[in-house]
């Protein structure tokens, strides 16, 4: 036994080391691919006139579906922002998913909503619809009031009511930039046969000044937790998603902003209602559907159309959010596990699925077991102190390098943070996140496995300040 334990510790140490190098190398590869993609995107974008897209009659109309559950604080600002989007033809469908606060009443009062007898095709099963409201103030706005059935159910209800061939799934607590739809629809114009879905970048609105439903000044949040998330989002979107999109194996388009073909969404049965990671699950099933029918397709990520969302500013809410995201990721991957290593599913089965299963899904477990082994070695006195310190420093510097690379992508592409001091702060927080923040997230995500096994299905409350409050900030 005396010989077995150190051997086991050593095996785990090596496994963690190999995992560490592999995962970071993959991220680095995606960042390099993203760099190529962003340069290409910038170059091509310079020659696209948004007014041409606006006036082109072949630009397909879009139904924007915004599920809302207890969004009383932010729903007005979000809906105003949606109604003011620049796009030739669109409708905004807000689905009130059985809110227990005054979400519906607020909308009724503000937009002069009136109950209609609008008929819709109930292609997708949903919780009962209690009524469909039309706005007397703006004919583009439709509000569907239904019993609570969670976000996927609300999106399905919106899909049933939607009239247009493309739909844009968004969170009603997000703000979309005025020209975002014109930008995101471009792949549908360039390659209408193959493009089935396009996602845009999500940025954090914490610290920004918002007026009339639009971000008018970009700034960094004052809250440290939100600052950590700024760098996280940059890494995830400009690095990971852009890179995966370059390899045409993007598995996730954020539920906060994505445009899809409605006919295909209906073909696959809409959003799966028994999962909390409906956005990822939807994209994976869409890919699976297209692969199985041998239909050429493309799901793209466009780094420019921007959706702003509010990040949690306290640990409790952040933990709930990340726990939910990870449970959603596990559910989506397990549900589609048959695609793993199956060559029939091309890059999705051979690259994207293995990457997500090994590094994204199991990653937190491996990371936490690494910490556990480290603790055990510390307790048993078997630790090689200089090596442990060096390895920790290596992990910190590798993580920092990845964050720096993401900042560089941001700098080379959009430079949304206007001040030099912003860049310095982002980099400093990119270093600081390696101490405690990353470990905290690893534990939260690892706990998601336990919660899932216990059958936890709830979303957890997301406390929001509401966008209007931020307007008062200096």
């Amino acid at each position: 036994m005396d010989g077995a334990l150190p051997l086991l510790f050593q095996a785990v140490t090596y496994a963690v080391l190999i995992f560490f190098f592999l995962v970071n190398s993959f991220y680095l590869l995606f960042l390099i691919l993203s760099l190529g993609g962003l340069i290409r995107f910038r170059r091509l974008n310079r020659y696209v006139q948004l007014k041409d897209i606006f006036s082109n009659p072949m630009t397909k109309p879009i139904s924007i579906i915004a599920p809302a559950f207890n969004e009383e604080a932010s729903v007005l600002e979000s809906v105003r922002s949606l109604l003011s989007l620049e796009y030739p033809l669109f409708e905004v469908i807000v689905v009130n998913d059985g809110s227990t606060d005054a979400t519906l009443e607020t909308l009724v009062r503000e937009f002069d909503l009136q109950l209609t007898r609008r008929v819709f095709r109930k292609i997708l099963d949903t919780a009962p619809v209690r009524g469909i409201y039309a706005s007397a103030k703006d004919r583009k706005l439709i509000v569907v009031d239904k019993a609570n059935g969670k976000k996927a159910d609300a999106l399905n209800a919106g899909l049933n009511v939607a009239r247009y061939p493309l739909f844009c799934a968004i969170d009603s607590d997000s703000l979309i930039e005025r020209d975002a739809l014109l930008k995101v629809v471009r792949p549908f114009l360039d390659d209408p046969e193959r493009t089935v879905g396009v996602g845009g970048i999500i940025r954090l609105s914490n610290g920004c000044t918002i007026r009339g439903g639009q971000v008018v000044r970009v700034g960094l949040p004052r809250n440290a937790l939100a600052r950590f998330q700024v760098i996280e989002y940059l890494r995830a979107f400009l690095g990971g998603r852009m890179g995966m999109s370059m390899l045409n194996c993007l598995l996730i388009i954020s539920g906060a902003f994505g445009v899809f073909r409605k006919d295909l969404a209906l073909e696959i049965g809409g959003y799966r209602r028994d999962t909390i990671g409906e956005d990822m699950d939807f994209v994976i099933r869409l890919r699976r559907h297209c692969h199985e029918r041998r239909r050429p397709f493309r799901i793209s990520f466009i780094p420019d159309p921007i959706c702003w969302t509010e990040a949690p500013e306290n640990l409790r809410v952040l933990a709930r959010q990340r726990n939910r995201w990870h449970r959603g990721l596990i559910e989506s991957l397990v549900h589609n596990l048959k695609m793993l290593f199956d060559p029939r599913y091309g890059a999705t089965g051979l690259l994207a699925m293995p990457f997500y299963v090994v590094f994204e899904m199991l990653g937190p477990l491996i990371e936490v077991s690494g910490y556990a082994v480290f603790g055990a070695l510390l307790v048993t006195g078997n630790i090689d102190h200089p090596f442990a310190v060096r390895f920790f420093l290596l992990a910190v510097v590798y993580g920092t390098l990845l964050s720096l690379a993401a900042v560089m992508l941001e700098e080379l592409s959009f430079q949304r943070y206007p001040r030099v001091s912003d860049v310095v702060v982002i980099v400093v927080f990119g270093i600081l996140e390696n101490f405690l923040f990353r470990q905290f997230l690893a534990f939260v995500r690892a706990k998601a496995f336990v919660d899932l096994l216990r059958g936890k299905k709830d979303w957890g409350r997301m406390e929001r300040k509401g966008f209007s409050l931020k307007e008062e900030r200096p």
Partner: protein, 353 residues
Amino acid sequence: MDDVLSVLVTYIFLFLLLVSAALFLFILLRRLAIQHREAVFQVRYLEIEQEVLQAIAAGDISTAVGTALRHRGRPDVLTQVLVNFAEMISGRGREVLRTIFEHGLKRRFLKDLRSPFVARRLRATRLIGLFAASSERALLVDLLRDKPIVRLAAASALTHVPDKESLALVFEVFEKESGPDIHAYTNIIFGAGQRIEPLVREALAKTPSPEKLSLLIELVGAIPLRSLAPLVPGFARHPDKEVRIKSAKALAALRSPDSFGVLAELAADKDWEVQAQALRGLGNLRNPEALEILSKGLFSPAWHVRWNAREGLLNLGIEGVRRLEEVAGQNSDRFAADMARMALDSLRDTQVN
């Protein structure tokens, strides 16, 4: 083994530390340099803008030449000023811009057309398209054999050159093109407007592939090319569903009273997508003879067909509303009744508002 690993970790750590520090410095210095460059750019932009405005106001070619010669050493700023003005100015003012381009930037961009860098070729293509004289279109024609993105830019630039030959060249490339790019060409051709009519007429006569044919027919309705309306019914019986859909769509957009018979025929097509487009067209015509066909559409199992039938009936005025009331009152088809009731509700909403 552990020693080797330890040394390896140390060296990798030091290497990554250096790379990170270098990257950080690069980001910071680059940002500072960009901010400085932007500030200088802004000052020069205002200065050149002022001079260009004066040249435009004077309408004097020698002033324009003077401006071009004075600022040709600042090509980026001068280009930006010209592009921004080009989006707002036409007529004589445009001639002034053309002169400035001719004397200040043209030589540089002609060189860039042959650059090994795609971005430079693209920029040059756009500028030549905006400012070069039509006699210089041959330069862009060469680019129609370049990479797809440059090809598209050249085609787009050629559509702005006001002569028939340039458009014919774009069209020629479109006819040869296959794959997803053909949609992008349709967008470009759409920008040419009515000038494209003889070429579309010719292309329709050549019976291209169903995919291109459907795009051409869609263009006829979208632009709209009314003189080609008599040709569209000829495609209404095409075996390809997409062609029939686009034929119905074009006829719906053109609103030609002569198309009633064809649309009525398409309303009975075997595919619901064709039926839906045909009913929309019949609704647009506001012909009372369409009453029965539109009423029948209300009983279709396809929602889109029912929706377009309802819209058509609303377009028919009082007769249509009466028919909607009848359908709303019947019990044999719940879906038709619902659709009719919804149409009547929307009518009431409109009246109230």
